[in-house]
Symmetry: C2
Subunit: 159 residues, 2 copies
């Protein structure tokens, strides 16, 4: 194959719409394809561990903040809806990875924390996850990875 898929699409556009410069569409197409491919691989790995990406997000949030959190705090950190957090939380409780305790100050509220098994699970999964992420970036040298990081920071300063 002489050229890749994105290049082929751009070539086709240049023939029917020579007035349009589709360079930016190509770059963004590549970002979206790359992100999509990665997402599939990441989802596949989590699935092997019995988790969805959403569930991992919740577990990882609890692990890295290193203290119990309320469901409200969790859905604000993860950008999930409150309903989605409750639903997923229930599964994680059933699995024995997290537990809830009633709040002392506010009896409407509760604190969610990782059980010992939950901590062990996250620590195991995240270690392998990071190794997988290293793998995904391995086509780039360390300095190229840093370049990429800087470009992304410029693109989305707030993220």
């Amino acid at each position: 194959m002489p050229i890749d898929k994105v290049a082929n699409v751009l070539l086709q556009w240049s023939l029917v719409r020579p007035d349009l410069d589709c360079t930016s569409m190509g770059i963004i197409g590549r970002v979206r394809r790359t992100s999509g491919e990665w997402q599939k691989k990441i989802d596949g790995f989590f699935k092997l561990k019995g988790l969805s990406s959403t569930e991992f997000d919740i577990l990882a949030t609890l692990r890295r903040v290193n203290q119990p959190a309320t469901p409200t705090e969790i859905y604000r950190s993860t950008m999930l809806s409150s309903g989605a957090v409750s639903t997923n939380l229930e599964k994680l409780v059933q699995a024995g990875w997290v537990a809830r305790t009633a709040s002392d100050e506010d009896r409407r509220s509760c604190k969610v924390y990782l059980t010992e098994q939950g901590i062990a699970l996250v620590d195991d999964v995240v270690t392998q996850h990071v190794a997988n992420m290293d793998d995904l970036l391995s086509p780039l040298s360390a300095s190229e990875q840093q370049q990429l990081q800087q470009l992304l920071e410029k693109l989305m300063p707030e993220s």
Copy 2:
């Protein structure tokens, strides 16, 4: 705000798991966030035009290959299932943007083509879409955009 969200997450991980180097997770997290934000904006724009991203993909495919295509060819180009193509095609036919003609050689098959209104729609939408893509990349200079492109090509040579 002293540091951005990704940097904050990495800082938190460094405190609870100092043994882990989460650099790659941060970079990939940025790519996924960026892609997700862009996707939302792109979907929003298409919605204004009365289209879903999937519908635009189908219309754009027909436009750039510049000739009628069978449903099978379409779903192979777009990576949708045959069922998804049929369903979406039906909506596009109802809207008057595409039409089907029976195939001469194979009476099981048909050719899908853009109507005049369909071509006008795609040409209008894709022109604005490209302008939007230019906007999304505008935080980067031309040479930085080229750098990004080259890094992405290295990461996903086949895409």
